[in-house]
């Protein structure tokens, strides 16, 4: 068990390393005509003449790929595009670099935006569980009844409904019918907690119901599996009432796999958060990413990609690590 834990922890190192390569290479093959386009845009931003070579230097594209990677990681010195002084300035030094357009520090901007995205994701997970668990459990203990069918159909409809379309409908129809639309001005949590919650509740509900669909299906399957086991039959034959059998005996074992599912749903949730932040104008990391895409601010895109994938990777690691403690039957070797 301990050996497994150590092995699992050590394996995260090569995975993280490969992740940095994927994130790095994803923005490395910028075609030439895109560079020309960016030159024009940057001249507009900085109001100075920028030639192609200068931009390639700013992007670090003037040296071979492995040198670029070494600089980004921080094992090779990076020359400043203006003063040409070289220093180690990469991931190992704890920096994601600077925005191509604004010049601001990427890691500071990401951390500044994190509370918004975190709140959105956290509420979505909580809402998802609050909906999915009771429905999934009830659907399983009343298998093949009308309630079960309604719950399952709702789950499949929920999985098939695009969250961006649902969001547009929420923005559009209440506005047409009742003249009501969700606020698009950001209210910080510390200033007005209720107003802030009011802003987040609709996007989190949309994200939460989307993930609830999958969670509900898994909960139902796991419950059905557990309810067929011998120890449940024993509990029934001891004469325990349904409440005790379900709440005390079945649920505990059925819900363990849900922990893994939360880690697995996280990449989808991140994508959903990007879309919700775009539609509901929330100033989170997702908006930062979309703005950077729009401005072709590749260092920022790279930084956000690395940050969010690392969060997902570590969450999956965490759920894997706590799993054997939740379920002592699982013994890794």
């Amino acid at each position: 068990m301990r050996a497994y834990m150590i092995r699992r922890l050590l394996l995260i190192i090569p995975t993280l390393f490969i992740l940095t390569i994927i994130v790095f290479l994803a923005v490395r093959f910028i075609p030439g005509d895109l560079i020309d386009l960016m030159v024009g845009e940057l001249e507009g931003w900085y109001a100075i003449d920028i030639d192609r070579e200068a931009l390639e230097r700013m992007l670090g594209l003037d040296v071979p790929v492995h040198v670029q990677y070494g600089r980004w990681i921080g094992v090779l010195p990076t020359p400043d595009p203006f003063s040409m002084e070289s220093r180690f300035n990469g991931l190992l030094q704890g920096t994601l670099g600077e925005s191509l357009i604004g010049g601001w520090s990427i890691e500071e901007r990401i951390l500044g935006r994190l509370p918004v995205t975190f709140e959105l994701g956290f509420l979505a997970i909580v809402i998802g569980l609050v909906i999915a668990l009771p429905v999934g459990i009830y659907s399983a203990i009343r298998q093949d009844t009308a309630t079960d069918y309604v719950g399952r159909t709702a789950a499949i409809v929920g999985m098939a409904t695009p969250n961006f379309w649902l969001a547009i409908m929420v923005m559009l129809y209440p506005a047409i019918w009742w003249g009501w639309s969700p606020s698009v001005e950001y209210i910080p949590l510390v200033e007005d907690p209720l107003g802030n919650l009011g802003m987040f509740i609709i996007p989190s509900l949309i994200l939460g119901t989307a993930s609830a669909a999958g969670t509900m299906r898994l909960t139902r399957t796991m419950m059905l599996e557990v309810l067929r086991q011998d120890y449940i039959r024993t509990a029934w034959s001891k004469g325990l009432n349904e409440r005790v059998v379900i709440m005390r005996h079945a649920i505990k074992n059925a819900l363990i796999p849900i922990v893994t599912l939360i880690g697995m749903q996280l990449p989808m949730l991140v994508g959903g958060a990007v879309i919700m932040e775009e539609i509901f104008v929330l100033p989170g990391i997702g908006r930062l990413f979309l703005d950077a895409l729009n401005d072709r601010d590749y260092p920022v895109i790279q930084g956000v990609n690395l940050f969010l994938s690392t969060v997902v990777l570590l969450t999956i690691l965490l759920t894997d690590m706590i799993y054997p403690y939740l379920d002592p039957r699982v013994r890794y070797t």
Binding site: A26, P162, T221, L293
Partner: protein
């Protein structure tokens, strides 16, 4: 097939057909919702193929005098901001969705067979390395990865098909790897090795034919997801160029501009998308339950 010897080949065909018919009868009897979904999918495939004949107008045909008109006899679902007929655009959008869904799935199956199949079959160090790559790939939130790559390669049908296909193939290779590993432990595989088959011969002749059904079913279930990804990218403006009618693009920033005056512009593409994805998922679930007992989980 103990009676296979000596039977003329002409008799095999009707036998197969009856098995297919039996399958459809089971589908209708045991999974009525799956069967209805299948019929709706067949209709949309039909619509997609004969879009040119079925659509009342071209999907780029402008009627500037009829901009943003509501549903009418002339334009059954109304028109958009450029006076293009919404119904025609939906019909051509079905063609794009089906085309992308099928081609992307095919590419994904090939790529995941190469990565997952070979990695699982070889095992050992190469498997360990390849799986760390897949781990990292799975942790990279799909939408971010797709948006990043699409922003570099630019909008376009071939681009999006390749990007979605490759990305889905790498992510999905896990399913194939587990299936291959399961077969490697089975008796008939050991028997195949014992009678002196070479490694690659047993891989091609004994492993792949047995995992393919699992894979094809697993990936047909994902067609709905592919169409959804296409729409998400289109919605964010990184999908297909404006001269292709796709459902996600109709709901994008440009599409949303006129939605308050003409809410049907937002309603119909989303509804078409939801119904298509719902039916694909239902049909996929039903097929999986009927065809592959190994994947049957008592859900759906």
């Amino acid at each position: 097939m103990s009676d296979a010897a000596g039977i003329p080949s002409t008799e095999i065909a009707p036998r197969r057909r009856s098995r297919l018919a039996a399958f459809f009868i089971r589908l209708v009897k045991e999974k009525p919702l799956g069967a209805i979904s299948g019929i709706i999918i067949l209709i949309s495939i039909f619509v997609a193929i004969f879009a040119d004949a079925l659509a009342p107008y071209g999907f780029l045909e402008l009627h500037l005098e009829d901009r943003l008109t509501g549903p009418s006899a002339k334009y059954l679902l109304g028109t958009d901001g450029l006076g293009r007929d919404l119904l025609s655009r939906l019909i051509f959008g079905a063609r794009v969705s089906m085309l992308v869904g099928l081609t992307v799935t095919t590419i994904s199956v090939v790529i995941s067979s190469l990565i997952g199949g070979v990695s699982g079959f070889l095992g050992g160090k190469s498997d360990l390395v390849v799986q760390r790559f897949v781990d990292a790939w799975i942790a990279f939130p799909g939408l971010l990865l797709l948006l990043t790559i699409m922003s570099i390669v630019g909008k376009g049908l071939p681009q999006i098909i390749l990007v979605l296909g490759i990305s889905g193939g790498i992510g999905g290779s896990r399913v194939l790897r587990s299936a291959v590993i399961a077969i490697k432990g089975s008796d008939y595989f050991l028997a195949a090795e014992a009678v002196g088959n070479t490694k690659w011969r047993s891989f091609i002749r004994h492993v792949m034919p047995n995992v393919m059904p699992v894979i094809i079913i697993a990936f047909s279930i994902s067609i709905g997801g592919v169409i959804m990804s296409l729409a998400s990218l289109g919605f964010l403006g990184y999908g297909l160029p404006a001269n292709i009618a796709d459902w996600g693009g109709m709901l994008s920033r440009e599409g949303r501009r006129f939605m308050e005056q003409a809410p049907w512009l937002a309603l119909w593409p989303g509804l078409a998308l939801t119904i298509t994805v719902y039916c694909l998922n239902m049909l996929g679930d039903a097929m999986r339950d009927l065809l592959d007992p190994r994947l049957r989980g008592g859900e759906g």
